[in-house]
């Protein structure tokens, strides 16, 4: 046995020796970003095999500060500031998982996941199948996603459908602080690889957080019950969808808003029950329409609930364009009015 070398990332930046934060032990109001931070901390406390990898996640705490203070608390052997290479971040996580670790990779922005795509699709997703269950890949890949923050190119994308089409992966998207906290813990605890999408324009939105594992990450949740239309959303658009439901209520339309939470697999039990009740379906997402998750859900719901449908399900989504420049994103992104327009269409009002 030899003494271990010091990893290259050990930082001597001032301020790193702050007192160790106490993990969340009671209900608190946190921003979504802070809730993920607390969830990561708890997961790391719970299991010494949890390690974090990513660019700038150490001293900086990530460009969104989601990993703030974790380097100080857990050290550079568990909070690993990596060289700038996404394929290697995922690929070394595979090797760590091989050795029994539970790596949590941070992809700095949605658009930067593609250099790591091969390792995700051909390795992370397939190892369990390839080895007939012998090798597990309990890897969590955190991806800040979506637009609405006026960012530059590649900083506002919604690549989730690439992963929901990839067998072997689980995909979730959170919409609020409580889920952010609970589901990051569940994702890390999962023996399957999980893509964990964080809607970046909600990072600063606050919510109550109970320090519990909460509802299973596989379950969809009715965030507002209704009887006329089922409206499916995830990530940042859950808030928009709820606002739309409120507005529609004033116009006499009762919308049931469902936060999908799990994008793969979709919780069709909840979705189908709702559509059987309402007979009308609207799905909304920021990603481009063609090949997006909306089409998949509509096809499946149509197959399973055909006779219950009063009208053709409708999608309110980003257009089939590369994510546009900041000054045009308000056109591209589904907003309250476009969602209501979609609701009007399933209601036969247009």
């Amino acid at each position: 046995m030899t003494p271990l070398m010091t990893p290259a990332t050990v930082s001597t930046v001032p301020g790193l020796n702050a007192p160790q934060p106490i993990p969340l032990s009671e209900t608190k109001t946190l921003t979504m970003g802070k809730a993920i931070n607390e969830g990561l901390r708890q997961a790391m406390l719970d299991d010494p095999r949890v390690v974090l990898l990513g660019e700038d996640i150490g001293a900086l705490g990530g460009v969104f500060r989601v990993t703030s203070d974790l380097l100080a608390q857990f050290g550079a052997r568990r909070v690993i500031d990596t060289p700038l290479a996404e394929s290697a971040i995922i690929g070394t996580a595979v090797g760590l998982a091989y050795r029994g670790y539970r790596p949590v990779c941070e992809i700095q922005f949605d658009g930067f996941i593609f250099p790591g795509f091969d390792q995700i699709v051909s390795q992370v997703a397939k190892f369990h199948y390839r080895t007939q269950g012998a090798v597990r890949m309990p890897i969590t890949i955190r991806v800040p996603f979506g637009g609405g923050i006026g960012a530059a190119e590649h900083h506002s994308e919604s690549p989730e459908a690439y992963f929901t089409h990839t067998s072997g992966l689980r995909v979730i998207a959170v919409s609020n602080a409580q889920d952010a906290y609970s589901l990051i813990r569940q994702a890390i605890a999962s023996d399957d690889p999980v893509l964990y999408f964080e809607p970046k324009r909600r990072y600063h939105v606050k919510g109550e957080v109970v320090p519990e594992l909460g509802l299973s990450m596989e379950q969809a949740v009715i965030v507002r019950p209704g009887t006329d239309v089922t409206l499916l959303a995830y990530g940042a658009l859950v808030t928009t969808a709820r606002d739309a439901a409120l507005a529609a209520f004033d116009e006499g339309i009762s919308i049931e808003v469902i936060d999908l939470r799990s994008l793969s697999p979709v919780d069709y039990a909840v979705v189908e029950a709702s559509v059987r009740k309402t007979g009308r379906l609207v799905v909304t997402h920021e990603a481009a329409q063609s090949g997006g998750l909306g089409g998949e859900i509509i096809a499946t719901v149509t197959e399973r609930c055909f006779s219950y449908l009063e009208s053709a399900p409708v999608r309110v989504t980003g257009f089939d364009v590369p994510y546009p420049p900041a000054k045009l994103e308000s056109c591209h992104l589904p907003d309250l009015d476009r969602i209501l327009d979609g609701v009007d269409r399933v209601m036969g009002r247009r």
């Binding site: 290259a8 990332t9 001293a59 900086l60 500031d81 060289p83 290479a85 250099p115 420049p325 591209h332």
Partner: protein
């Protein structure tokens, strides 16, 4: 014979003294007082533009700005060494290079204002627009160079990237291809010591310039804050490429004196003493010293340079603030070069939607945005 050993090449000391060096000097013989003054003027202007753009960002006129503060010599020295028909594949920080290329100041900030995904037509200035996916542009440069090679012309591709970028697979694959095909491409790495919060030591335990030779690409390690060394090295590399010598790698050792971008807070990760130390190596300062000793700096020159810089800043500000917002329906433009039925239908639907809304919608929109 050029010495391609990994010694740091410096031709202009921090104190502003010209350091003679037999193999490099012939390449900068023409850099007399007036020529150096021209480079100095460029550096002053681009620093002023940089400051103004940062101010515009702080005032909400730009969404983001990636400052080049400290990297003026690396960018001006290399850009001014290029021929008009050489083609540049930059990252996102080469605003001084764009300036040298004659890109309009308004066009430089257009992308950071969020008006478009890029600000200019690459073919009018022989310079690609900013590349955000780290390292991807090094392959484009290599491909362009393969094209130049096939066209039997002696134009050269040059690509700019950072120290952090050297870790990406793409940059390494670009070196593999460039070496394999002896492509006329110059790899210009600005090692500004940081990739956002990560010191260069995270990316490499050896000098970055040491990497390329293993791929079969000679490399030069130069003081990137020394505009004379940068000019010499770039000219050497370009000449090799033009004369069939293949690719060259240049590591310009410099320093990012500002934040990574205006969204960054370097106090979270960087020792202020480091910045203080690098301030003594400021690229403008030492050139100013040399020019002073050469008698090129007079009060008139100072005033004229400042005026030039102020004029550029004013032009930038006016152009930035006066930039019209893009039309909503332009969101659908240029996805394809030829019409696409699915997309045209989406455009028509959205146009109908906007019309149906009319004035009512516009005000609702405005309310939400306010």
């Amino acid at each position: 014979m050029i010495d391609f050993s990994p010694q740091l090449v410096q031709l202009l000391s921090i104190e502003g003294e010209r350091i003679p060096r037999g193999d490099f000097d012939p390449w900068v013989e023409d850099l007399d007082g007036p020529a150096l003054l021209a480079l100095y003027r460029d550096m002053v202007v681009v620093r002023r533009i940089d400051t103004e753009a940062t101010a515009l960002q702080r005032q909400g006129e730009l969404g983001l700005w990636p400052p080049l503060l400290g990297q003026e010599a690396a960018q001006i020295g290399s850009a001014r060494a290029l021929r008009r028909d050489d083609f540049i594949f930059p990252s996102y920080r080469e605003n001084a290079v764009a300036y040298c290329r004659g890109v309009k100041l308004t066009d430089i900030v257009k992308v950071w204002r969020g008006n478009a995904q890029s600000g200019w037509d690459p073919y009018t200035v022989q310079m690609a627009t900013p590349a955000i996916i780290i390292g991807a542009q090094t392959l484009h440069a290599t491909g362009w160079a393969l094209g130049a090679q096939r066209d039997d012309v002696d134009s050269v591709a040059i690509t700019y990237f950072g120290d952090g970028a050297t870790s990406e697979g793409d940059v390494n694959e670009a070196m593999v291809f460039a070496a394999s095909f002896q492509a006329p491409v110059v790899f210009f790495c600005q090692n500004n010591q940081w990739a956002i919060s990560e010191p260069v030591g995270v990316q490499a335990h050896r000098n970055i310039a040491d990497r390329a030779p293993g791929f079969g690409i000679p490399s030069l390690r130069i003081d990137g804050n020394d505009v004379i060394a940068v000019t010499a090295a770039t000219r050497i590399a370009l000449d090799r490429a033009r004369t069939g010598g293949g690719p060259t790698f240049i590591e310009a050792v410099t320093y990012r004196m500002g934040p990574h971008t205006t969204a960054d807070d370097p106090t979270r990760y960087r020792d202020p003493a480091e910045l203080a130390e690098w301030k003594t190596r400021d690229p403008l300062l030492r050139l100013h010293r040399l020019l002073t000793s050469l008698g090129e700096i007079t009060p008139e020159v100072e005033a004229a340079t400042a005026a030039l810089a102020d004029a550029a800043a004013a032009e930038l500000r006016a152009g930035c603030i006066g930039m019209p917002d893009p039309e909503p329906l332009s969101v659908f433009d240029h996805v394809y070069a030829t019409p696409n039925a699915t997309l045209e239908r989406q455009r028509a639907d959205y146009a109908g939607y906007l019309t149906s809304f009319g004035a009512e919608h516009d005000s609702a929109e405005q309310n939400r945005k306010a």
